[in-house]
Each structure stands twice: as structure tokens, then as C-alpha cells.
């Protein structure tokens, strides 16, 4: 286990908090009136999925949780769990849906993902920067242009509804930002 300070904090970093591994979901600096700098974080417990806020002193040291990254194939979903299989060992690992969050709408059966392990337990995923998706339905019904601007709704292969520019057609492949679940660009046309 190595020690890091608040200046090493990044979104997604795993640290020990209250003796349990947590993931930094969000953080920002705050200065109270007439006070030094502090780092306000949102921490998600790996074990319970519970998110809590904690404000560290700037420069405070914490234990970084050691994690290993393994390539795994997504197999299927069972109730609240997503099941993956390690490509090398064929062992199966589970990620709870609370950990995947929005990515649940983007995950594809059979695809390879980078799964984070701690103590041989899956605790998270290193999300791809962009996700490639096939547009399966492109005429979902126009929902009022004044709200969305020059956009319309389409459905992609995972069932996700997403707002895209008007020129996107059924059969096109688009790129989606996994963090926001928003359209980025068209990759190829049918």
C-alpha cells in the first residue's frame, strides 16, 4: 500500500477511508472564509456502494488502495450483478450495478473491458474513453426541437435512447462519451 496526498487525487482513484476501500467519485477545492485550502470529495464504498462526502485538509495523506487491471469479457447480467470472465484464468467476477452506474446502458455482451481488482475481488472498471454503438432505430418521434435544438432521439443496440444530430440514420455507428452517455460523433454510415 502506498501513501498519496490530496494533490495526487484524481477522479477514479481508490483510497482507504475509514479502513475500507473507496473510490473518489468527485473532488474539488474549497477555501472556507479566512481559512486554508481543503479538498471536498465524494467517496463511494467498494463494499456497500454507499456514497459519502468527506473534506480533507489540503496535503493530507491517505493510503492508496492497490489495484490490478485485468481484461475480462462481459458475459451476462443476473439481477443486480454484471458477470465478467477473466480472459486468462477463465475465472468469473461480479460487478454490482451500483458500481457501473450509467455504464449499464452502454455495456455489450461479449465485449472485453478493463476490470479493476482488489484482493481478487472486482471493484470497478477502467472505462473506455469512447464507446462505439450501432443505431438500431432512428425514427423515435421528434420531441420538440425548441428543447433539444437540432437534435432527435435514436435507440442504440443496448436499448439506450440518446439525442443525436438529425443526420444520423438507422445502421450508422456512433461514438458515445461513457461518462455523460452523450453523443460525440458519427463513426461510420450504413
Amino acid at each position: 500500500m502506498s501513501k498519496i496526498t490530496t494533490s495526487n487525487f484524481q477522479k477514479g482513484t481508490f483510497i482507504e477511508f475509514k479502513s475500507e476501500p473507496h473510490q473518489i467519485v468527485e473532488f474539488q477545492f474549497v477555501n472556507p472564509g479566512k481559512g486554508s485550502a481543503f479538498v471536498r470529495t465524494k467517496l463511494k464504498s467498494i463494499n456497500s456502494g454507499k456514497v459519502q462526502e468527506f473534506t480533507f485538509k489540503s496535503g493530507e495523506m491517505v493510503e492508496e488502495v492497490p489495484i490490478a487491471v485485468h481484461e475480462m469479457q462481459y458475459l451476462y447480467k443476473s439481477d443486480k450483478d454484471f458477470i465478467f470472465m477473466d480472459k486468462l484464468t477463465y475465472e468469473q467476477y461480479t460487478l454490482n450495478k451500483s458500481i457501473l452506474g450509467n455504464f449499464q446502458k452502454l455495456i455489450k455482451t461479449g465485449e472485453i473491458y478493463q476490470i479493476l481488482l482488489h484482493d481478487n475481488k472486482a471493484i470497478g472498471m477502467r472505462y473506455p474513453k469512447k464507446v462505439k454503438m450501432l443505431v438500431t432505430e432512428a425514427d423515435v418521434g421528434v420531441k420538440g426541437n425548441t428543447v433539444m435544438g437540432a437534435k432527435k432521439l435514436v435507440i442504440v443496440e443496448t436499448g439506450l435512447q440518446i439525442a443525436v444530430p438529425l443526420f444520423i440514420k438507422k445502421g450508422d455507428t456512433i461514438s458515445i462519451d461513457p461518462e455523460t452517455c452523450e453523443y460525440v460523433e458519427r463513426l461510420s454510415q450504413k
Binding site: 474539488q28 474549497v30 477555501n31 472556507p32 479566512k34 481559512g35 486554508s36 481543503f38 462526502e53 480533507f56
Partner: protein, 358 residues
């Protein structure tokens, strides 16, 4: 995409940015109606009031022979306004820019920001508390045009509903410490010297599970407890909160309370979790001010921050006799965030730092 590009693409966004001009107009009207003078003081100065928790912007003035003089950008107009108060200006206010270095990467801070300060002579922090209540109601009425019989003045901010009508919640720091942290002020402060020994607060903090090292100051330890346990409750339970009587180590330029010298006559007010203003009954005692200057300069050196030239002219001004007065600094960007329901300061600035840096 930069803000100006977003505005060009989506003109409906302008409304959010126009909240600023409405807030500033309302503030001006509020003070001019009460015959306050509006003043304008320098942003470029050769010396500042040393404050160890701040980091300054430093620059150089070149004279005609290109001889360099170290200069600073003001973190607050306070020093200059106090000089005007000594000169006899009476009640006054200023709306200006202030600069605080290193305050990046935050939803609530921009290193260059807009500040409102107002000062009342022959007043203490209690009169300013009433000013805050009336000012916010005045701004609210300009925005909402409520019917005269409406006794409530509710706004929504990030899902929280707050009633701005008078009176606001008032709680002292010792009361808040007890109510939200279950710590009695006597557990961290003593009547006899040393009033704030490190062992007392360290013990309390460690018992609560906070890390304390020998490099941490009293202020850091206190503020960690404050930010984690007390602040989440301020101005978030239906009404704005005025939290007053801060411990002496956090007194800054405020007067010590005569009824309890461990406390200072300083308050902050919060609405919907946003810290909006910081006020003191102003310190008028020259010896005490001189002592605080020296302490701050020492702490700045210990923390390896930019060594500032202390404003000795300010000290002389206090010696010349600052009238009994009280003043407050309010974050105008934060007020705009409140009325625009914006979670991030970048959403209400035409040119937030991140745009300027790109």
C-alpha cells in the same frame, strides 16, 4: 467549447448571464437609497494586509527608467476603504474585483472574482446582520415582484427551498459546535492562557477520526471539523443562516468579544449551503492589529507562501483612529449563482478561468 461559443450556439443561455447585471443594479439601488457613498479603490497596490490563508498575485511596476517595484493585486478592498473611513467618509460600499491566487479547481471560486464590501460607522456586526437580511429581500423583490401580502420569499437553489424572509436563523459557533459536532467550546478553548492549546483540539479531532499532524495549525483542524460536520447544516434547513462569534484564531480583522475573549465579533451567512458573506465588527485597537500582522507574517513564512510587503500605512491608519464601525464582504458571483440556480461559478461568468487558460 468556450462560454462565448456556447452562447452563440444557444441564445437561451443569455438569461442566466443577465442575472448578474440585475443583482448588481439591485445592490447599488439598495445602498444609494440609504445614502451610502460608492467608492472605487486600487486593485494594484504596493503592500497588503498579511493574511496567511491567502496567496496573492504578485507583479512589478516599471517606472520611466524601467526600475522595478514589487506590486500586488488586492484580495479585498478592505485596507483602502478603512483608510477612507479614518478620513471620515462615513457609510460606504464598493463593488469591485478581487484576486486570490491558487483558488482554481473549484465550483465556488475563481481566482479573479467580484466582491461587494459595505461599511457602517457607529455600528457593530449586529447592524450588518440586519443589512444582509434586508439586502437579500430587496434583491429578491426586484427579481420576483411578489405581491405585497406575500410574507414568504422562497427561492429554489439546487433542489433546496429557502425562505429569505426575516428573521433568518442565527446560531453562534459554540452553539453550532455543540448542536452539530457534539463538542462543547470549552473542550477546545480555555479561559486562561494559552486559550487555544493544540492538545485540546487535537484530542477532539483525533477522537472523531480526523488525522492531525504536528504541521497542522489550529485553524486547519477546526475548519476540517467545521466543513465536515457544521457547514452542511448552514442555510440548508429552510432559512438562511447567520453563524456568528468565531473562535479567536479565526478572528482575522475583527474585534474580540468583550463578554468572552475567546470569541470574536465575526459572522458569516449561508443560503442553501452557499457561503455568501463574511463580516466583522472592525478591530480598532492599534496594538492588537500590529500583533496580528506579525503573527500572520510569521505564518506566511512558515507555510512557504509568497512573502508580502505588509501594509504599514494601514497600521498607521488604525493608529490614527478607525471609527467604531462594522464591514462585510459578500461574494457577488455567489449571489449570482444563488439567483441563477447555478451549481458552478463557471456557469455565471462570461470568461471563467478555464476559458482564459485554453
Amino acid at each position: 467549447m468556450k462560454t462565448w461559443q456556447k452562447l452563440k450556439k444557444n441564445p437561451s443561455l443569455w438569461q442566466r448571464y443577465f442575472v448578474r447585471e440585475k443583482v448588481i443594479q439591485a445592490i447599488r439601488e439598495f445602498f444609494l437609497k440609504q445614502h451610502f457613498h460608492e467608492v472605487e479603490t486600487p486593485l494594484l497596490v504596493s503592500s497588503v494586509i498579511p493574511e496567511s490563508y491567502l496567496e496573492v498575485f504578485e507583479t512589478h511596476l516599471l517606472d520611466r527608467n524601467r526600475k522595478k517595484k514589487r506590486m500586488f493585486l488586492t484580495a479585498s478592498p478592505e485596507a483602502s476603504i478603512k483608510k477612507l473611513l479614518v478620513a471620515g467618509i462615513g457609510n460606504c460600499f464598493e463593488i469591485t474585483k478581487s484576486f486570490r491566487n491558487t483558488e482554481t479547481d473549484s465550483n465556488l471560486h475563481n481566482p479573479e472574482f467580484t466582491i461587494l464590501e459595505w461599511y457602517r460607522v457607529k455600528a457593530t456586526y449586529e447592524e450588518i446582520m440586519a443589512d444582509c437580511e434586508r439586502l437579500l429581500m430587496f434583491i429578491y423583490k426586484k427579481f420576483r415582484n411578489p405581491k405585497p401580502k406575500d410574507s414568504h420569499a422562497t427561492i429554489n437553489y439546487q433542489g433546496k427551498t429557502i425562505d429569505l424572509s426575516v428573521p433568518w436563523e442565527r446560531i453562534s459557533v459554540p452553539e453550532a459546535l455543540k448542536k452539530y459536532s457534539n463538542v462543547s467550546f470549552n473542550e477546545i478553548a480555555q479561559q486562561s492562557n494559552p486559550m487555544f492549546p493544540m492538545e485540546l483540539i487535537t484530542r477532539v479531532a483525533r477522537k472523531k477520526g480526523y488525522q492531525v499532524t504536528d504541521k497542522n495549525t489550529w485553524e486547519e483542524i477546526f475548519n476540517q471539523i467545521y466543513l465536515n460536520e457544521i457547514e452542511p447544516h448552514l442555510g440548508t434547513e429552510g432559512k438562511p443562516t447567520i453563524i456568528y462569534d468565531y473562535p479567536r484564531p479565526l478572528a482575522a480583522l475583527s474585534k474580540i468579544k468583550s463578554s468572552d475573549v475567546r470569541l470574536s465579533e465575526r459572522f458569516e451567512f449561508y443560503i442553501a449551503g452557499l457561503e455568501l458573506g463574511d463580516c466583522y465588527t472592525e478591530l480598532t485597537d492599534y496594538e492588537e492589529q500590529k500583533k496580528r500582522f506579525a503573527e500572520e507574517i510569521n505564518t506566511i513564512r512558515q507555510k512557504n507562501k509568497i512573502a508580502v510587503s505588509p501594509d504599514n500605512d494601514f497600521l498607521q491608519t488604525i493608529k490614527a483612529g478607525l471609527p467604531e464601525c462594522s464591514g462585510i464582504a459578500v461574494g457577488i458571483d455567489r449571489l449570482v449563482m444563488l439567483f441563477a440556480d447555478a451549481a458552478n461559478v463557471t456557469e455565471i461568468l462570461f470568461f471563467p478561468l478555464e476559458d482564459i487558460l485554453k
